[in-house]
Symmetry: C2
DNA sequence: TACTAATGCAACCGCAAAAGTTACAGATGA
DNA sequence: TCATCTGTAACTTTTGCGGTTGCATTAGTA
């Protein structure tokens, strides 16, 4: 696959599921479709399951399906479920040598934070159903 | 450093320069301040120079300074200068097995593209001067 | 002219994150 | 009882990126 694959994989998979929300799909099917492998799929979808976006069923004839209606799943739900931060720094205390202008440093961080929030808000305005829709 | 370091480094550096726009700073000074090394700094700032945001002067007593007034440099300028794409896939033809639903695939990509554009637009609303400002 | 100090750039190293892979336990329907 | 699917852990492979070294070039300065 490529970079940023997790969000991309999640979105593509959910979009497919949006048509035929009741049909169960195995991680193997999904992996074939997405050009990756079942374990990677289960890793990503597992996060979506923990976030309550998907339901998985074990055993024979098991698989994955949407936990809600497509119109009730926003891109922000997906983004947040993956727990990545694309804009803001994944802060690790990063102490700068910038002691005198420490205020400036925090200022930069907070601006980045605002941008991140804005992104999430924007993502919240589109649902999976709309992605599929048109 | 950490993840997303290029945008972060660029923003911090420009913010510092916004106070004292005429003073020349060497990549070495900047590296010390940012906790990295001169070559990395020159790599990142080089992109900003190509984008016309910075001017570098070679030779003895050379260094870096802003090419424009801080209020005329937006975060979008910086983001675009670095030529990264945080949301949209850095498309590499990624041919999906998704032949039947090819339209859906493109749809997903275009949604991601819209989000990316929205991000850039948001970044365009803040200038370096404002970051420093307050 | 010689010396010093800076950028610009290419080539490489090393690390860490992420994908890919293998293996297997547990669950569940046939 | 068997086949099939999830859940997870452990391991390997790939890759992006910061870090490092080296050196040509440029430009002040003595
Ligand atoms: S390191 Fe000085 S502002 Fe961030
Ligand atoms: S792979 Fe099917 S929509 Fe992208």
């Amino acid at each position: 696959m490529k970079r940023n694959s997790r969000l991309s994989l999640a979105l593509h998979t959910l979009s497919h599921m949006a048509g035929g929300p009741d049909r169960l799909r195995t991680s193997s099917d999904i992996a074939d479709h997405a050009g990756t492998n079942p374990v990677v799929v289960r890793r990503v979808l597992g996060k979506l399951r923990k976030a309550g976006l998907l339901i998985s069923e074990k055993g024979h004839a098991g698989g994955w399906r949407l936990a809600r209606q497509p119109q009730d799943i926003t891109l922000a739900d997906v983004y947040l479920a993956l727990d990545e931060r694309m804009v803001a720094t994944q802060e690790k205390s990063e102490a700068p040598a910038c002691s005198v202008e420490h205020a400036l440093h925090k200022r930069v961080s907070s601006v980045l934070e605002e941008i991140e929030e804005n992104l999430v808000q924007r993502l919240g305005e589109t649902s999976i159903a709309e992605v599929r829709g048109a």
